[in-house]
């Protein structure tokens, strides 16, 4: 059974990110002949000496013209062990929101540094965003080792430097791998030029890193998405609650509580995509049937009576602002979408703006503009049923929508209820 792993890569063309992705795709035979021919042809027309594998991922006309990655591109490859979805994100600070987008669903992030240059401001920024979005596994790939003579001391120096910085971040699993994307060292197979390195190749790490326990399988959460009522003779009394399990495990026969009503009942049946099942766990999409007829609708939350999310209208959160023409300020009114619930919200206060390069907290700032990240307090018109983002990415996240333009202008990660 092949598992799915979602990874995000961050960096710029200069770091060799596109070369690395190109090599992973190429060496796993995921670049097909007509794609390679098209890229080779385009490289020649642009007057490049070598085939630019970045053209495989930079799919928009504007990206190819400017030679940069603007938006997230999704690429796919597979080995016999796993199926991979790569969210290839731009590295420039002006596209921070696009990196946040790609990072939000990733199981693992690969941050690239150039062995000659060491840990730069942008490597720190990418690592910070990965930790803010709580990507469970982080790989620092020290690239271009061939250009520093595969020197162990240089690698150790970068590792030490990075570790002292990463100590300030909330990173649970950190792996360092010296590679040369261009020459293929430690990308797919172990490098004969770096026998001093005892760790796995990058691909081996991607294939074997343990991701199953990254999900929260303790706190059972089921946001009701849609009520299934067939209204047919055959299923006249059928009433099912469709949704995606956002945390924990539900079993047929479990006692459950429905929020906001607070009524308790038991699960009488669970239906998966291919029929009845005994238990449902994250991230399955199921239809749940309850023993009692209760008033349950979209936006309600089903949980266990002795393990409930926080219910509240006041939340503290880290927000990345994504609005191009607008700013986040105290008093701003927005629509907030959290799980399957959309409510109106008002920004009560901005505690500080965070410098994504230095992690400095600027408490004097009064607004967040495009790509800026800060800590805010929000008040909502209706209660939310939430967990801290660090405990559950599904019930701890929300988006903010501008009510006049309908644009998505913010991404929020809940720190907790505000006092």
């Amino acid at each position: 059974m092949a598992e799915l792993l979602r990874l995000a890569t961050a960096g710029s063309v200069d770091d060799g990110k596109s070369t690395l992705i190109g090599r992973l795709l190429h060496d796993s035979k995921s670049v097909l002949e007509d794609q390679l021919a098209a890229v080779t042809d385009a490289s020649e027309r642009m007057g490049l000496e070598e085939v630019n594998l970045a053209l495989l991922t930079d799919g928009l006309r504007a990206e190819r013209e400017q030679g940069i990655t603007i938006d997230v591109a999704y690429r796919y490859f597979a080995t016999t062990r796993r199926k991979f979805i790569i969210a290839d994100t731009p590295g420039h600070v002006q596209y921070t929101r696009n990196m946040v987008t790609g990072a939000s669903t990733a199981d693992l992030a690969v941050v690239l540094v150039d062995a000659r240059k060491g840990v730069l401001e942008q490597s720190r920024r990418h690592s910070f965003i990965a930790s803010l979005l709580r990507i469970p596994h982080l790989v620092l790939a020290v690239n271009k080792m061939d250009l520093v003579d595969y020197d162990k001391e240089r690698f150790d120096e970068i590792v030490d430097d990075y570790r002292s910085f990463a100590a300030r971040l909330d990173v649970t699993d950190l792996t360092f791998i010296p590679i040369s994307a261009l020459r293929g060292d430690n990308v797919v197979g172990r490098s004969p030029s770096m026998e001093w390195f005892e760790g796995p190749s990058l691909l081996h790490h991607l294939e074997t890193v343990h991701i199953a326990s990254d999900r929260n399988l303790i706190d059972s959460r089921f946001p009701v998405q849609y009520v299934v009522r067939p209204h047919t003779d055959e299923h006249h009394d059928f009433r099912g609650y469709a949704g995606r399990v956002a945390g924990g495990v539900f079993h047929v026969g479990d006692q459950v509580m429905v929020l906001p009503s607070g009524f308790t009942t038991t699960i009488s049946a669970l239906n998966g995509p291919s029929g009845p099942i005994a238990d449902a766990y994250a991230p399955m999409s199921v239809t749940m049937q309850l023993a009692d007829e209760l008033d349950v609708s979209r936006g309600d939350m089903i949980c266990r009576p002795n393990n409930r999310p926080t219910v509240g209208q006041d939340v503290d959160a880290m927000v990345c602002w994504m609005g191009e023409a607008s700013e986040l300020r105290s008093g701003a009114k927005l629509t907030l979408k959290h799980t399957t619930r959309s409510v109106r919200t008002m920004v009560k206060s901005l505690s500080y703006r965070l410098d994504v390069n230095t992690l400095h907290r600027d408490e004097s700032s009064t607004s967040l503009t495009l790509n800026e990240i800060g800590r805010v307090t929000l008040r909502t018109t209706q209660p939310l049923f939430f967990d801290e983002y660090r405990r559950n990415r599904e019930t701890g996240s929300f988006i903010l929508i501008d009510e006049s333009t309908n644009s998505t202008v913010g991404a929020g990660m809940i720190l907790g209820a505000s006092s």
Binding site: E3, G59, D71, R82, T101, S274
Partner: protein, 301 residues
């Protein structure tokens, strides 16, 4: 108990979530159905998403009139089996009404005309969300597109101004006259589709499997001899054992030589192919490097 999903189960769960989200948040969704394998898988997922209730939205076929008969028969059978309402938006009707002008000549195809018919039909029926079966692995412009893809009142896609899409929180808000294209299969690859068809023991139109057919070679592709296409000088019909990897308009969809006569054989063939499905079989993508991006900007699928 390990509580782990296989990659196909994870993709299935994601797609079902997206389909239900649309049914919950939109007033008049529609599922675009071509009779090709991707739209068949998409409809199969929609049937699962709402079982035992019926699919709560209609399906729409943008019909160029240049179809493979097997595909139209399959379409009619599938919607009738599941009690789904079928809307047919006809490119011929758009031509008759003077909305579009048909190209002439041996290389004429109605493929580009579909955009006008599609947008007119969305407007006529007031559809505010349209499910499409496009996958990100198909083509590089599609690799950039969101699951919920906003379209303005002219049906246009603006690739430089896409809404950020985070976690599994989709923003489907729009004004009257605007709509959202929704791509539940975004993260599936061609191989995933075939593995899923195999695992689910799904039926498909027969043209997906090896059969003998009268074909001729054009631009390195085998095109089927049919009433809607004119042979040019030097193009000689011959009978070959072929199958189709994609199904679209008969005038621009090429066949591949193949002996894969059942799903298992196709899975094996797809797993080892050295050409992408669109590269191998679609004349419409060969116009230029940005052919798909340009068509999508205008409102294409």
């Amino acid at each position: 108990m390990k509580y782990e999903l296989s990659h196909l189960e994870a993709l299935e769960a994601e797609s079902v979530h997206v389909i239900r989200e649309v049914a919950a948040e939109f007033e008049r969704p529609v599922l675009l159905f071509s009779g090709g394998k991707d739209s068949i898988v998409m409809l199969h997922l929609a049937i699962k998403a709402f079982a035992p209730a019926r699919v709560p939205f209609p399906v729409m076929h943008v019909d160029t009139g240049h179809n493979f008969d097997e595909v139209v028969d399959f379409r009619d059978q599938m919607v009738s089996d599941h009690g789904i309402r079928l809307v047919v938006a006809s490119v011929q009707a758009s031509i008759d009404a003077g909305r579009v002008v048909e190209d002439t000549g041996p290389r004429a195809s109605r493929n580009p005309l579909q955009t006008v018919t599609l947008l007119d039909a969305l407007e006529e029926h007031g559809f505010d969300a349209a499910f499409g079966g496009a996958r990100r692995d198909e083509e590089k412009a599609r690799a950039k597109e969101r699951m919920f893809s906003f379209r303005d009142e002219f049906g246009q896609w603006d690739p430089k101004n896409q809404r950020p899409e985070l976690w599994s929180l989709y923003n489907g808000r729009h004004r009257r006259g605007e709509h959202i294209r929704v791509f539940p299969l975004s993260n599936w690859t061609e191989l995933d589709i075939w593995q899923y068809i195999e695992a689910q023991e799904m039926a498909l139109p027969s043209i997906y499997f090896a059969h003998e057919r009268e074909v001729f070679s054009r631009d390195g592709m085998w095109l089927a001899v049919n009433p809607h296409i004119t042979l040019q000088e030097g193009e000689v019909p011959e009978v070959r054992t072929v199958r189709f990897r994609t199904v679209g308009d008969t005038t621009c969809t090429g066949a591949v030589e193949s002996a894969a006569a059942d799903v298992a054989a196709v899975v094996l063939e797809v797993a080892t192919t050295r050409l992408t499905e669109r590269g191998a079989t679609r004349a419409d993508d060969r116009a230029s490097e940005a052919a798909m991006e340009d068509r999508k900007r205008e409102g294409y699928f």
